[in-house]
């Protein structure tokens, strides 16, 4: 395409947006809400997926003690643990360490713990188990064996959680596809109608353009670019709002699933690019539908 024509199309598309800015603002606003809901869904999905993947790679197990064990007891348990393949001792957390950690997490609300005369938190030993093909039964065998030791109160491990979360993930996937599809249609509907309004406001201009020798494509392209820009802006606004919400979430909320803390991640640059591209494509399809209908009239 010649540079002059490309320049013309971009100029026309931006002029259309500026001239019909109220219609476009409403369109972009509504569309970004639709996109935001969809993107939030994706962010939740990405985070749960990320959590199950990281937890699944090395399985974490916590062995809670009835009383604060002395070093001899710990050494005996360590010996017992080394009988199992793939076990790595991470750390021993004493009752005091557990209390300090909890106080740190509670921050300003740590004063709530002052009411306890005795430290209610158990001492624990954290270990990790590397996953291998025969590894599925190993945590269960280990848990059973460790709980037979009299000083051990309880053994918890992440795999139980992962299995539960994976079932939820499947459900989220299905709901996400249905929901995403509906939101896609909603965004398409919004763009189609916004572009339709701008086409009608420029009906006379289109007629004149055709009479002085413009091809259909020449008349249509600025509207298609206009729809694509609208889609891009809708997507960008939605991502910006989502990012702000993410910043608030990571600074204000400490999310824990069971005993495993959830580290919230944002969408990867590739996913962001993909979502922006998707919104441009939705914009392009929506406006193409609009101009297609108009030129059939």
């Amino acid at each position: 395409m010649k540079i002059t024509l490309f320049h013309y199309f971009i100029r026309q598309a931006t002029a259309n947006i500026l001239e019909n800015r109220l219609v476009h603002l409403i369109g972009i606003g509504t569309m970004s809400i639709a996109f935001l809901i969809f993107y939030a869904f994706i962010l939740i999905f990405v985070n749960i997926n990320h959590w199950t993947e990281t937890q699944g790679k090395t399985l974490t197990m916590s062995i809670y003690f009835k009383e604060e064990p002395d070093s001899a007891v710990i050494e005996n348990i360590k010996k017992e643990l080394f009988l199992f393949p793939g076990v790595t001792i991470k750390q021993f957390i004493s009752k005091d360490d557990a209390m300090k950690s909890l106080r740190r997490k509670l921050g300003e609300k740590a004063g709530l713990l002052d009411g306890f005369k005795q430290n209610p938190l158990p001492a624990s030993l954290e270990i990790t188990l590397s996953r291998d093909k025969d590894g599925d039964n190993l945590p269960y065998q280990l848990k059973t064996r460790l709980e037979e030791i009299t000083v051990v109160d309880e053994v918890q491990y992440t795999q139980e959680w992962i299995k539960r979360v994976q079932v939820i993930m499947e459900a989220i996937k299905i709901v996400g596809i249905i929901f995403g599809g509906l939101l896609f249609l909603a965004a398409l509907f919004i763009i189609t109608n916004t572009i339709k309004l701008t086409i009608y406001s420029r009906k006379e201009e289109i007629e004149i353009l055709k009479l002085v020798g413009a091809t259909n494509l020449f008349v249509k392209l600025p509207f298609m670019i206009e729809g694509s820009i609208q889609g891009l802006l809708g997507g960008a606004v939605a991502l910006f709002i989502l990012f702000l919400a993410y910043i608030i979430a990571i600074t204000k909320i400490d999310i824990s699933i069971g005993f495993a803390s959830l580290h919230i991640v944002f969408l990867s640059p590739q996913t962001i690019l993909f979502l922006l591209l998707m919104s441009v494509i939705i914009g392009f399809i929506g406006s193409t539908i609009s101009v297609g209908r108009f030129f059939r009239l």
């Binding site: 010649k2 540079i3 002059t4 009479l211 002085v212 020798g213 413009a214 020449f218």
Partner: protein, 216 residues
């Protein structure tokens, strides 16, 4: 340049707008199409630049059969025909320069060439000082000249002017007609539709009279 054979045009069940039109306009000719209001002058011009299709008969413009012309060729044909519309059909949201540049932008001329050609044309029509004005800010005569500028900026083979002096006072009428004559001298085939007998009074040009859709 223009050949019309047994051309008919009907709009619904009303009386035909054009009946059995046979007309040949040679390259470089200047022709007046005249007749009272409703005689079919505008319809005839519309058929020539394909804003309307004939109901029956054949129309050939610059060797192209308008009955069988494809969309792509239609755009190309319109680029070789300059049209001055009765109601000017200027874009109110574009200034004089942009209105005139439109024809060249459509073709995809480079920006520098567009500037050069538009400035030349505006100078020719004494509109240089108006290039930043918008159509609603111009007088009827100025708008008419802008419409002519847009029609001729691409040096068309054919210039069609529909009542080009319809809304103008006698002085401006003389000015516009002189402009059309000049454009004709440059080699353009010119067809002017007018109901004004005043315009035709002293002309030596060919006159085609339409009455109730027929050539009288």
């Amino acid at each position: 340049m223009i050949q019309l054979f047994q051309l008919y045009k009907n709009f619904g069940s009303k009386n035909p707008a054009l009946l059995d039109i046979n007309l040949t306009v040679k390259k470089g000719e200047f022709v007046f199409i005249t007749g009272p209001s409703g005689a079919g002058k505008t319809t005839l011009l519309k058929i020539i630049f394909c804003a309307e299709r004939p109901t029956s008969g054949n129309a050939l413009v610059d060797g192209r059969n308008l009955n069988r012309i494809k969309d792509r060729d239609l755009s190309l044909l319109r680029r070789s025909i300059g049209v001055v519309f009765q109601d000017f059909k200027l874009l109110p949201r574009r200034n004089v320069f942009e209105n005139v540049a439109l024809t060249l932008e459509i073709i995809g001329f480079p920006l520098s060439m567009i500037r050069k050609k538009v400035h030349q044309t505006l100078r020719y029509l004494s509109l240089t000082n108006k290039e930043g004005y918008y159509p609603p800010q111009l007088s009827g005569g100025e708008q008419q000249r802008v419409a002519i500028a847009r029609a001729i900026v691409n040096n068309p083979l054919i210039l069609l002017a529909d009542e080009p002096t319809g809304n103008l006072d006698p002085d401006l009428t003389i000015e516009i007609m002189a402009l059309l004559q000049e454009i004709h001298i440059r080699g353009t085939t010119v067809l002017v539709a007018t109901h004004s007998q005043e315009l035709l009074k002293d002309t030596t040009r060919r006159i085609v009279t339409l009455n109730k859709g027929r050539i009288a």
